[in-house]
Symmetry: C2
Subunit: 110 residues, 2 copies
């Protein structure tokens, strides 16, 4: 239940592989963060695919641009609930969701 600075740091500067080999995170915490980052990534992709701005999706999911930015950043203040609901709101199916969870994330810089 502890959500704090640490995660804020990790989420920043995420590279390809697993997050935080360096900070002492329990396996389940690590899984949770990894999952969140994958959902964040999946969300951003879907938005790009549709050529929408953050403000556009914000309208679509009845949220705000700033929250969308936080979602995509995997911010600690964003729940998986919100990410999942937003993906659904953008027309993602459960099967696609499963793929997002399973498939590897892609690094920002190729």
């Amino acid at each position: 239940m502890r959500e704090d600075k640490k995660k804020r740091l990790e989420a920043r500067g995420w590279r390809v592989g697993t997050v935080t080999e360096f900070l002492g995170l329990s396996p389940e915490e690590e899984e949770y963060i990894e999952l969140k980052l994958r959902l964040a990534d999946g969300f951003r992709r879907r938005r790009a695919q549709r050529q929408l701005t953050q403000a556009d999706v914000a309208r679509l999911i009845r949220s705000s641009q700033s929250r969308v930015a936080k979602m995509e950043a995997g911010d600690p203040s964003v729940s998986i609930d919100l990410l999942v609901r937003s993906l659904f709101a953008m027309g993602t199916s459960r099967a696609e969701l499963a793929r997002i969870i399973t498939n590897k994330r892609v690094d920002k810089a190729a």
Copy 2:
């Protein structure tokens, strides 16, 4: 963001297929509820498999028996976050999580 009576009713008496063809739910609400019920089901299964009581898992995940019961019931007061974290705490992998999301639920009474 509206979570209320309706869902409480639907979650109760869940049959095999999709939830609520009868109540007017938007596709994304339906997907969200269906997802929650699948996670709830997956969680219950995993617990049964390990032959643990609700009180046991509650201890394991540092929660309470009542919350575990609500989790398994897909109660509106339970977030997907909590379900996912609990599954991870019970040793579920992301791949298994994806399967739980994809595979069909199983009815209580065969």
